[in-house]
Amino acid sequence: MNELLVPLDHESLRLIGPWITELVDTLDETTAQALTSRAELAVHELATNSVDHSNSPTDSLTLRGTLDSGALRIELSDQGDPVDLSAIPAPDPNEPRVRGYGMMIVEQLVSTLDYERIDERNVWTAVFDIPDTPPTPTDS
């Protein structure tokens, strides 16, 4: 389990990309780059919500990541108020709005996304399946 503690300010969210890059560095380069770019944007959007809804400037966001043969799993937890998932409006494609696209972006990038309230913390678990690597051609 690899852990990153992020201060809840927008500039500190730039730590997330390099942390994910390190998490996936055992994968082949093409798979790692594709997975990093997908996971960075999704985790960055979830983390931005944590910053925007934080109650205290001293709060922090904890990220925990694991990589196994089939998936990258990243857990985010913060001390913010409980999240009411039913209160997050889905954007109307016929009426472009300025805000409110964060969760729409996340949902399209993750394989699964779970939310739980545990010990007065919001805990999001995002899983990114790793696509099968095509077999290396052999001379036969």
Binding site: H10, L13, R14, L41, T48, V51, M104
Partner: protein, 112 residues
């Protein structure tokens, strides 16, 4: 993030952004675009070709300017990010169909 602006003929302002257009930078970008709009410069080409990352807050700064410019009879048109990761937000939110997007600023300025 580096921000530069210059005005072409036909009162089209080309704004070039370089680096990350994320929640940290969005406030400055929004302020700069608001300054153009409030000064009556509502034909804006924003060159994102050297932008490496765009998030929903960065997108929001562009959408806000686009809505205000369209209300004033102008528009915000975009040079596509050269980096496919940076272009992803536009595809996922379908704003690639809302903004007029091309591969060069010249194409957008000449086509105005």
């Amino acid at each position: 993030m580096d921000i530069t602006s210059h005005t072409h003929n036909l009162d089209v302002v080309v704004v070039t952004l370089t680096g990350r257009l994320d929640a940290f930078e969005a406030k400055d970008v929004r302020a700069m675009l608001t300054e153009h709009v409030e000064a009556g410069r509502c034909r804006l080409v924003i060159d994102l070709s050297a932008v490496s990352f765009v998030d929903s807050a960065g997108l929001a700064a562009l959408v806000q300017a686009m809505k205000r410019c369209r209300q004033a009879g102008g528009d915000v048109r975009l040079v596509r990010p050269g980096n496919s990761d940076a272009n992803r937000v536009f595809e996922l939110t379908k704003f690639d169909r809302v903004f007029q997007m091309r591969d060069s600023a010249t194409e957008l300025v000449d086509g105005w």
